[in-house]
């Protein structure tokens, strides 16, 4: 699969994903903006295993950016420009708070996991791949590890309230 074909597929998938969250017109814009970034800033990235995660990353930034723009434009709640704080090059306090809260929820959720799930999560944070985890856990089939990890992930997501955000 060449780069052009990958990008074409990506556009279709990004449009489908964005349509679920924003309007169709905004979704079209989002997909276009993601592809522009990929095209202009990462023309040398051609590998599927690099291009797809990169597209996810760009897509997330673009969606957050669109969300911030909407806030700035007062699309959600009309406020006067004078009341808004000055721009800060660092993350804004709201984003920092949001991340802090997410980390707190994540830590609390992880603490409630069973021993095996915590071990799995820890090994993944240490950068161990599934085959390596399979060896550590002494399992004959890697599918067992996949299954355990899927269950642990679903359990963690459930404890996080159904979303990583």
């Amino acid at each position: 699969m060449d780069r052009e074909q990958i990008l074409a597929n990506l556009r279709e998938r990004i449009l489908g994903f964005a349509t679920l969250r924003v309007s169709r017109a905004q979704a079209e814009d989002l997909a276009q903006e993601v592809l522009v970034v990929l095209h202009e800033k990462y023309p040398r990235v051609t590998e599927l295993t690099e291009l797809v995660p990169l597209a996810f990353q760009v897509l997330r930034f673009k969606m957050l950016d669109a969300h911030r723009k909407s806030l700035r434009r007062g699309e959600y709640n009309q406020e006067s420009l004078e009341d808004l704080p000055l721009a800060d090059p660092d993350d804004d306090p709201a984003a920092q708070l949001d991340q802090k809260q997410r980390v707190g929820r994540l830590l609390a959720a992880i603490a409630q996991l069973g021993g095996r799930c915590r071990d799995l999560f820890k090994w993944k944070l240490e950068g161990k791949s599934f085959p390596e985890i399979q060896k550590i856990m002494g399992q004959n089939s890697i599918n067992t590890i996949y299954t355990w990890d899927l269950r642990c992930r679903k359990q963690l997501l459930s404890m996080m309230g159904g979303s990583w955000e």
Binding site: G16, P53, F56, L59, Q99, L107, K122, F130, P131, W164
Partner: protein, 447 residues
Amino acid sequence: MSEHDLEKLLGGFAADTLTPEEKQTLYTAALQDQQLFNALADEQALKELLADPVVHRKLLASLEQKSAQDSSGSPAWLDWLRRPAGLAFAGSLAAAVLAVVLGIRIYQDSLRQAAPSVVTEEKSTPSRTTEPKAKPEESPEPAMAPEKKDKLFDKPAKRERSSPPSPQEQRASDVGKTQAPEGVSSKSAEEVASPADRKLAMHSVRPATTPELKQIQPPATGRIPAAATSAPGARALFYGGEPDRLEMQSMAKEQAMKPLAESAPQADRLERKPEGLLQSGKAAGTATQPKLLGVRYSFVIRETDGREREVDAATASKSAQPVALTIELNQDAYLQVWKTVSSSMPQLLWPEKESGQTSLKIATGQRQFIPLSMESGLAHLTVRVSRVPSEPITREEAVIFDQPSPDQLQEFITASNRTGSREHATYVVKQDPSTTAPIVVNIPLGQ
């Protein structure tokens, strides 16, 4: 990899621990599958979070701390038990153990229930095939035949009780004399008594009219081991299988002497076994032939301490104490006893004149005591037992009828009782059940 399997790789995507092959597979599939793509896009939030070095360190520290607490806290097996799979395994293991325990109990119960039926079959088979005929001379007997019978009979016995022989088997009877009308060559007491006893054992056949055990109180079986002939004795025919039940009682007593834990289940079997025997006996008895009419008589003297003791005729004739003739029948029948002194005409000794009857019905197992006077010198008694009431006869007719039937089998038994007393009794059985001809027994006195 199916779509479901690809979903399993999502965990690796967020932690960025997928192998190149896994990434290739996952991303290729994500480009074709909107749902998988959406899931990956959602995982991007977590991926970013985990990619933050500060958050990464915090999470790792938290997990390390938790692991340390676990290792010093509850044991590993408890943690294993908390897992769903562990709980499921423990539950199924407990269920399996419970099933095995219940299965064993049910199996033991079925064995207990099966035991009486097996015994019934084995007991009833010989009783159907055995003809109660006294043909001692026809069976010079190879040694194998009795052994086979012993084996057949011993099978249930072995099952019911463990090896120690009963006191009944250990006890040796003193003397046994058989008087067959056709003449039986003289044999040792053991040789004569044991075939009868063996027949006793094999005769579980009892007609439906057979009285209950408590009504009949026969003496101890006087069992003698080892035998060479297969002809049934009069005593065996008289009881017609009754000793089986006596043996069951003695076995039950033996079991009661054993430790409680050992005897409890077996006692249960013993309680059921006579019932099964009785049922089979009834069934077989009604199916084969009626019980032979028999009479048992003995002399009883009253000791100075008031106890009654059976003695032989010679001892009775010389006794200074009061002597009585006891007569017992193995089925309801009519009895009359004549007494003849020297060459005079016979006199009806029983029933007494006051009754106005020439014969009276005696219930099965009921012992009739007839006081005797031994002062009249040489005399003899004639006992007549019939299924039908005796017609009034004159004393002359009594002399004519005073002849024993040739089909009568007579056996004199002297045996030790388990209570220490001795049995001195004579059994007479009429071997032809088809006729109503009476049993006539001549009993000499004062000889």
